[in-house]
């Protein structure tokens, strides 16, 4: 749960070490690692862990497709769509209706237990996906006709209203959509039987998703570097001038908006198949739209690669919070004593690291020897709990690595503002960790739930910080120039 790397991206040095990319990728790596650890604590099998990871990758790919769609609308054309969830919903439900088998209402006595939904066409998956894209893209085109000339905030409000209206309709048009319960048995692309079924399913979905994502990235890159993409970017920069040069700017905006909508429909179809069921509540709420915004802003608007990395990062946080809540919370509660010992060791060790860096740095002039000495000190400190039997040896090793990294950052802190920021971030995380451990004892379930919501608060804070300080995003984009 603790990580020493700062979350905010520091300034980029031109042509230097890609620090921002490094941080983002290590964060993603950290998320995966911690997720795996949580699963291990909860006692999952290797296949189970891989299935879980497969789920993370599949859904992250789905969010990437959403982000790519939004990037096309906003990053390339400047159309701020606050109704992403609406097109997502259309795609998901159209695909589900197309590929499911008949689902009549289930009535028990006089009570309608399940209202049934439109469907029973049992079409193949590819047809369902194509229908979803056409439906969502068509809806986007229809919305665009009157809405595209609106100012950005009006467009946002209008699209948000549309998305919420779609949610309401979906929830209430029970015979068509299955109402609040939703559509429950969406068939997977290949029906596996047996104990390994969910594992094989996960692998298939990752494969399909990965292929789709790769193809999309290639196609989108090709389109954006074409003359068509050039006009789109010009429309974003100066619509009047582009219009005066003879381009039908409305037609371009319409195309971009409709294509973006079709991509969101594609994501919806993938979602229906990955999850196996659809419900109109949480999956299509405005919060989904806001998360996609963060993904694209983190990656840098207009930057496709950034959009999908952003998606992996932001959804990674959500996945991780679910993992920790479901799996590790109980593990944490059981290991209260161990966690406390770990944190105490962290605190003392951090102090030790600071002292070590100060003294050793001053006494020993040879850098390499100095660092070896520090490593030795911290190593001894880290090994002590293992020797005493207070902490498992794996944790001790992790402790040592964390402390050594911390010492490194402390050493940099005198000269580098980023390092100081890193220390503040680490201190904050440390305090938060203690708060969790204490809270866990006072209210065992509150922590797990709180963590879930704190993740959303972090997304909100990210949104604010990014838009104020780095609206161009964290990842750099290669500029293309016409020769």
């Amino acid at each position: 749960m603790t990580a020493a790397a700062p979350k905010k991206g520091p300034a980029v040095e031109p042509g230097g070490f890609p620090l921002n990319e490094f941080i983002v990728f290590s964060l993603i790596g950290g998320i995966v690692v911690i997720g795996i650890i949580s699963a291990v604590i909860a006692g999952a099998t290797p296949k189970g862990i891989l299935t879980n990871l497969g789920f993370y990758v599949s859904v992250a790919i789905i969010f990437s497709v959403l982000a790519l769609g939004f990037n096309l609308q906003w990053g390339y054309t400047g159309l701020f769509n606050a109704g992403i969830a609406g097109f997502y919903l259309i795609g998901a439900y159209v695909a589900a209706i197309a590929i499911t088998s008949p689902a009549p209402p289930i009535v028990v006595g006089d009570v309608v237990v399940y209202p049934g939904h439109l469907g029973g066409f049992s079409l193949p998956l590819v047809v369902g996906v194509l229908l979803a894209m056409v439906a969502a893209g068509g809806a986007a085109a229809v919305v665009a006709l009157p809405a595209l000339r609106l100012r950005a905030d009006y467009l946002a409000i209008a699209t948000l209203a549309l998305a919420v209206t779609l949610q309401i309709v979906t929830r209430n048009a029970q015979n068509i959509t299955g109402g609040a319960i939703g559509i429950t048995s969406v068939p997977p692309p290949i029906l596996f039987q047996g104990t390994d079924a969910s594992f094989l399913n996960a692998i298939t979905m990752v494969g399909i998703g990965g292929f789709v994502l790769f193809a999309l990235l290639v196609i989108l890159q090709f389109m954006s570097e074409s003359p068509w993409g050039r006009v789109l970017r010009d429309v974003r920069e100066d619509e009047e001038a582009t219009m005066a040069l003879g381009k039908n700017t409305f037609s371009y905006k319409l195309q971009a908006f409709a294509l973006g909508g079709a991509l969101m429909g594609l994501a919806g179809a993938l979602y229906a198949v990955t999850l196996g069921y659809l419900s109109p509540e949480s999956s299509f709420a405005p919060a989904v739209t806001f998360s996609v915004w963060v993904m694209v802003i983190v990656g840098g608007s207009g930057n496709n690669r950034g959009a999908f990395v952003g998606a992996f990062l932001i959804y990674g946080m959500e996945w991780l919070s679910v993992q920790v809540r479901d799996q590790a919370a109980s593990g944490l509660a059981a290991n209260y004593l161990l966690m406390s010992v770990l944190f105490i060791a962290l605190g003392v060790g951090a102090l030790l690291a600071v002292l070590a860096v100060q003294f050793v740095g001053r006494r020993v002039l040879d850098r390499r020897r100095a660092w070896l000495l520090i490593a030795a000190i911290l190593g001894a400190f880290g090994a002590a709990p293992a020797a005493l039997g207070a902490l498992p040896i794996g944790w001790c090793f992790a402790l040592f690595v964390l402390l050594f990294g911390f010492a490194f950052v402390v050493d940099r802190a005198k000269k580098s503002r980023r390092a100081r920021a890193g220390i503040y971030a680490a201190a904050t995380l440390y305090g938060v960790g203690w708060a969790f451990i204490l809270l866990q004892q006072l209210a065992p379930n509150a922590v797990a739930d709180s963590f879930f919501y704190i993740r959303l608060m972090i997304i909100g804070a990210l949104l604010i910080l990014l838009i104020i300080f780095r609206p161009e995003g964290i990842l750099r984009e290669k500029k293309r120039v016409l020769r």
Binding site: P146, L150, I168, F250, I454
Partner: protein
Amino acid sequence: MARPRSRLSALRPTARFRAQLARAGVVVLVVVGIFGTLTLAFGISVLQYALGGMVISSIVIVAAIGLTVLYGIRGFANFAYGDIATLGGYVALVLTFGGISLVLGAIITFLLLAAFGVFLEFAVFSRLEGRGVVAPLVASVGVGLIIQNGIRAVAGTQKWLYPVTLGQDFVIVPGLGIHPIRGILTLSVGVILVVAAHVLLKYTNLGKAMRATADNLELAKATGIDTRRVTYAAWAVSCSFASIAGVLLGLGSALSPTVGFESLLLIFAAVIVGGIGSPYGAMLGGLLVGMSQEMSVPVLVWLERPDVLGLQFGANYKVAVPFIILILVLIFRPWGIAGRKPVFAPRAFFLERITRSLRERPVSSEAVAADREAGKS
């Protein structure tokens, strides 16, 4: 030299005011017309719905005034507004835990949230000045996320009730009842706040400064108005009105972390229909939006009948009615009832093409030249 006008003629309202009055009159006529038709068609239950609509309208009006003031002066759509209202509701709740009565708690909340609004401008939004319309919108979404999930993390997702005994509906006429707290209190608070807003805007210097800034920021700065102070005042008014709306919402149903956000679009609808930046427009818009939501219920119930449309759960669609109105207004008249058509409105070539083909009068260039020769130019 023109003939000097008599003193009385100076009292005549200006042309623009007359136009606005005419527009408001049209709206009122439309509302009364719909009212009358529905009562004739569906009976006295219509008046019950109307009363319910008035109650909802009061909450929406209070919220909309706050939002429109901020929108007009600061120039962006505050997507955190609903969550700020929720925050107000919860703060008042916490105060009641401390033994303070709800009324006193509401007043304290009013002041606390005003300070919170100033803090938001100082900490976040002042850094986004001049960055266009999208940046502060996105930042406000972030603020809203933090507030809403902070409330969830601290207070949980369950619903909370104010420690007020609710009592029974007060019956006016058989078939027409109003709840003392949910109905009468809400209406009264709404009226009080509307009057307060009116007094503030019309009769105080600060109010005049606020109206001037909302109308034309550059001109206000040029005439020496301290727009910084006006901005902070706008945030204070906005968030404090939001907090009262939150308390009223909590009284009306129950307090949950999403109670404000669920009403956000409704409030936006009221603001846009009424015209951004115009508090009086917000009042009209809130009335229209609230009433249309409630008054659509009998129509929707009628649509549920299998011989008409067989619509399931028709009444649940009532919340979609204001959204439809909002979308229609955005398409055809984005500046709302009280707004003015911007001089450089973007051309809607698509709509123009349709209207042009509808009234095409072919004119030949020879005819034009002939006209010119005849000296008609």
